[in-house]
Symmetry: D3
Subunit: 315 residues, 6 copies
């Protein structure tokens, strides 16, 4: 039997077996009995899958959060591609490795290699002239690097995969450095703001193989969490200037651009206006691009995007 | 010459001399030359005043933030009472004390004595059953008591006078304790939330004899500042339960009730709904009452209240 | 065969027979033929049910609005518990009484006994000092007591069960009396406002065993209806002071707190601010509590609440 | 000395004496002493006036709400025409009649004669086919005719002069009758709705020579007042169909078109959509026309209109 | 076998064959295999249909956008009437004509005959007094008449059928002529504005047998397209007055009434206020009427209308 | 007598004479007689001025829109610096040239030289790869270059001076080119969009020495005007691809970012999102910088900015 292609390359005529990450698993009961509703992921994306047969047996063979081996075929349901599964079981690492299973192929991941992105981040830190700010960034990266390197930027909206936060931060860095030059704004502050604006997401989101909100993530939120992480780190640095810290916290707190979007304060410095604009643009472009990629609507426009509240031109 | 009554009792026919706090002082130039535009305060309220004569001399005789002795008379300008001053100079404490000057008479102040309010606050702390929360409150009061006892609750909107924050906190305490009982909510958390919800104002506002916003007050805001003050204090307490702290911070962060009003997170617990509702009601009633008190519009309704966007029925 | 537990205690493994109220009944046709889509209620809550077999026969055996005896088993569908029915027929009162059928067990009802709540309402009326207002309340309760005692507070949003309106009114009464004391507001007016603010719901909603909107309920609305009911009653009382009546009507008309929420006038008195705040808080807490009770989402947070537009922390 | 022209014809070079209604009178104190700030009206419009000399004497010579004889000259202040007065005193009816004083010339009034408008209103009533609705209208006009004939439609926004409400109602009548025919809507209901939609303004506004809000006007509002007036009148008619009454009240209650504009219910019938649209259009066109008339801005556009939030093209 | 009635007259007991237009066709796969999800239309309306048998064969027998002959029966699904099909194939024009097939019976169409509406449009053009405007209208109708005569006014919201745009334009014409007289507005401009306000829809929408948005329709929009079409036509007319053209473009650009609804400029002339009001009212009444027609909810009110955000009273 | 410094360098102690542009002139009448209210501008900014003496003579000596020679002194009024004038007359070019008068010194102007900016614009055009788009830009610059080189970007909000539009366009160009690279967007389209997005302002605004709105500027708006200018130019180019034109018009039409801000369509392409973000950021930063420059508020924060609705941190 054939091997299934990566999720991004599946079609309604695909048939065969493959390795994936099971992101969600649910037993549902319809009129003709129980069936399994599953979400599968790999490095290229995610897809819904269903199993209608041998449900009682299959459901014991794997859990959400595990890597699985499945056998199935593509199917169009309500104009959306899905997989109908004949078999599914958890991966047996040693044995399945022989058939080509590799964890890293099954985890949704940023398009650029993590190490390459991490190295690029380092060059930005090195470009900071203020010794206090550079020291702060180095401390933060030393403390939080393991997570920052792999964290997703969100549970669902944009950059919602391994390395997504880092990918997002690097784009923001490019943008704010452009505008720092264009408007003579404080480049050091903007580099720090770009790197740290979403740092609270390391605690807002729990991330292993799947992503969800932590208790403090919901009740406190990454904006306040991140502001506190930065303050704690700055205080541990001898002589960190108070006014620099206040401005940096202001960048983090105001980066959603307005109160109604969850920033407790509006941007009040040129740097804060720049960071909020660049962040918003990157998040939107990511949503636009992802919507175009996953859209199956015939014709030059996508289906309506609920969050952006418009159709997108695909050209 | 007669002594002027307290500001709240002045009328267009008042004439004489008195002691006040000069809250603002400005030299303005009109067609017929320079004049002094002044704001005077005492324990009973505040009033605008102008001096048209001897401006060059008078303007050297006092500064904003000083206690002053003035001589003048009441005057109606655009239906608002003001004072027209003939003389004004800074208070000479020793000499003027003989004429009855007392600092405490000249500072706008909450209607209840500060000590009485402070004692009442203590009974609320004592009513807390959770040792961790009670300890946290005792620590906070020990650290910040000097300021909390005298701080205003705002620069202008409501409770904008000495002891105003404490007065506001005590009203909130009554309210949340009522609802804690009514809805079986966590009383300890609500007592702590009521006492600490505006604690960040101790750093958001600079207050001596006049009130204005600090740099971190504007750029960070009392909600984030207060949340951090509480976290720091809780961490200093051995074994302070993390979930209690998160819920308490949530109370502080969400107490404006919605994001558009500056809370980075919406209320998500019964306690947070209660605190936000009681806080909002107290602020509104204070504005309504103050508007009625200072309104001179004839008839049963006040003039339009800009912030509340309505007229108020005076009965 | 076993007896099914109360709806609130049903689980996916429940199996047996029981007595319920059929709140809705619909014949739907799917690919494999017609089936019955039903909503069942009892004193503890409500649940969806489906019957797939003998539909043509079963559908004649009962109607929406009737008490039914059913036989069935629990089933999870899209993570929600439902009942799959094998049998359903209308109750035969005499015969089924022998098996334990009691009407009062099958009707969703407030947690507190109606008589106890009614008695408590009387104590509030008795506390009114103004003879005119007390007389007005006595007249209203004499006229509308039968309905006020059993009416739901809404069709769906909050307190949507027998006695729900009275339960809601009593909570409001506690709250407004607290604030009447706290702010020196007119207690008599607030007691009357609390009891009468939703009195128009007695005509806005039709209530027998199920609840729906009357024609005047939709076209006129309970706010205007209630205001008129109170005016008519006050006019029938000799010498009822006009200004009291106007203020009382103002309480009813403004109790939604702002125009966009359906109040034709904004609150313009301290009493109106209080009533609107207490009413809003009670409605929200009821929604929060009900959402927590009926939520099956794993983890410390509920699913997203559409009306409140947030998740709720379950602790 | 020359007679001043009507207010609408005054210019910066006008000088002389004339009779007007004093709508507002205030003593203000500036740097150079007290002056009188006055608003004068006549049949053609209104204008601000000031008196700087002999203030102490002049201020005793007349009151707001009285007809006055003035002597003065035109003056441009901040690009707005005003009058500077040398003399002002209350009218002596007998003596001044000899000089041409007539009350009706001094009261701002609709452009069409009241009697002519009243007669036209009668033809609309006569066109109603439903005997119940015609009877209701006849009763309402019998009861409220004296006021309806002269009432203004507002204190300030639009049709704010004698007969303004009637003028407004007649325009609405034309409009709704057009659409009743165009859309096959209930003409009788629409005629009644047009005549009665603002009937509550007879109690919302106090009107003698000047206009202001009554207590029930502010606390209850003309929408609720009018709905009650109609209900009372309908109940006094034997056999008035309940469904007709509910629909008619719905027209009154929903005629502001949406809740945020003060209607407690949204339009839910074709007739309600029509009435709300026609009413809104008439109010807007009246504001546009009045703004163009009173605007002195050079060029083809008016100054910014605050309520309409735009400039208007004058052509 | 019986002939099915027109779509508007179908019921759950209908059974037989008929001719329709297939507006949409989709193959969906459920648990029990693939089925066809179809939308059928005729002159009287549209209905959903499904085919569960012989899907592989049937799906080759017709396409969306073709006329079809079907055999099937009525069925209620979720309280909505649908058709379950046994057979479906594309029409064979010659052969099926013998059985009564006529294209014009199968296309959703305005209730009034197109030729009658077209003739009426001509009388409005003839009533224009300005030779320039009349010439412009004649040119536009000469150029675009073929499309204007048959175009729908929208893809879905209102007047979404053959001749719908013309039907809408004629209603608007009646309305604006009424108000042109009532308010002494420029009748010629309003006639032109009414005829041309949606003329851009001839390019915004692609219409053959089905309707969808063109690329420029989405990216540029009918307001800008229409404004350009009118400008191009006016420029081709010798001596067309510039100010007339600007006002006419303003009518087109502002006819949605406010920026948030897609008009780049707010109405700034009496004519623009009138056109926007009449257009909005016609669109709303059409939605109300259509909602009432297609609603199956028991009782005097329709189901909730999502776009209008309310229920409608059916009487 | 001394020469006054440039407006940006004036202080309350400045005294002397100088050359300026009179931007506005008005005769106002106060209590003590008429005075002149004037706005003066030079290359460095603008300032209010008043003349209280010899008004009847002085007012004939110059007009708004003329260059003037004045003699006066600095004065603080309501904390704002103004000039009090002793003399003012229109410039006599020949004679005053001897005293140093140069037109270019008296006109508010962008900080960078116009020729330098114009040359830079050319390098952007030259960087366009698409021959059609480059040709379009060359044609547009050939036709509109004279105006584009000197036009202000607005009457008041931002870049409201000679060369302001060009300065704004160049900043936008830098920004969009950065993001074109960063996101792999269509650089040619973005360069064209940046250069042409506000091209309609050449007709929306009348600009000589002062700036105001043209008739079509108000009634049609620069977005629609600009879109039409581009379309006309593109049509004059043989073989200009229709889809390029539609996308380019889309960039112009959507560049305000949302409908409520006056864009008739929302951004639907990556390029449109980029242009709208960069344009908005540049406008905001310009307002922030200008507000900081002109602000005289003591302390680290500016006064409240009405349009941005916040205070700004000045550092």
């Amino acid at each position: 039997m054939a091997t299934l292609p990566r999720i991004a390359d599946l079609s309604a005529t695909s048939i065969g077996w493959g390795f994936y990450l099971c992101a969600r698993k649910e037993v549902r009961t319809g009129k003709t009995g129980a069936y399994l509703a599953i979400v599968l992921q790999d490095i290229s994306g995610e897809i819904k899958a269903k199993a209608f047969q041998d449900v009682d047996v299959l459901k014991e063979e794997f859990d959400a959060g595990e890597f699985v081996k499945i056998q199935g075929r593509g199917n169009l349901f309500n104009q959306k591609l899905e997989l109908v599964l004949d078999k599914i079981r958890r991966v047996m690492p040693d044995r399945d490795a022989l058939d080509g299973f590799r964890e890293e192929d099954c985890i949704p991941c940023a398009p650029r290699p993590l190490d390459e992105m991490w190295a690029e981040l380092g060059t930005h830190v090195a470009a900071v002239e203020s010794p206090h700010i550079r020291r702060l960034l180095e401390d933060m990266l030393a403390t939080y690097g393991d997570r920052l390197k792999i964290w997703p930027a969100a549970q669902a909206v944009h950059h919602a995969y391994r390395g997504g936060l880092l990918e997002h931060v690097l784009k923001i860095l490019e943008g704010v450095r452009h505008f720092a030059d264009a408007y003579g704004a404080n480049r050091d502050l903007l580099i720090a703001g770009a790197i740290l604006h979403d740092i609270g997401k390391l605690r807002e989101l729990n991330y292993g193989v799947t992503t969800d909100y932590s208790v403090e993530g919901n009740l406190i939120g990454h904006i306040t969490i991140g502001s506190a992480m930065v303050r704690d780190a700055a205080r541990a640095i001898d002589g960190f200037p108070e006014d620099l810290l206040v401005q940096l916290e202001h960048l983090i707190l105001s980066h959603h651009g307005e109160k109604a979007l969850g920033s407790p304060v509006d941007p009040m410095t040129v740097e804060a206006f720049i960071l909020a604009a660049v962040d918003d643009l990157d998040a939107k472009i990511h949503q636009v691009r992802k919507h175009i990629e996953t859209d199956d609507t015939p014709g030059p426009f996508t289906a309506f995007h609920r969050r952006l509240e418009r159709v997108i031109y695909k050209k």
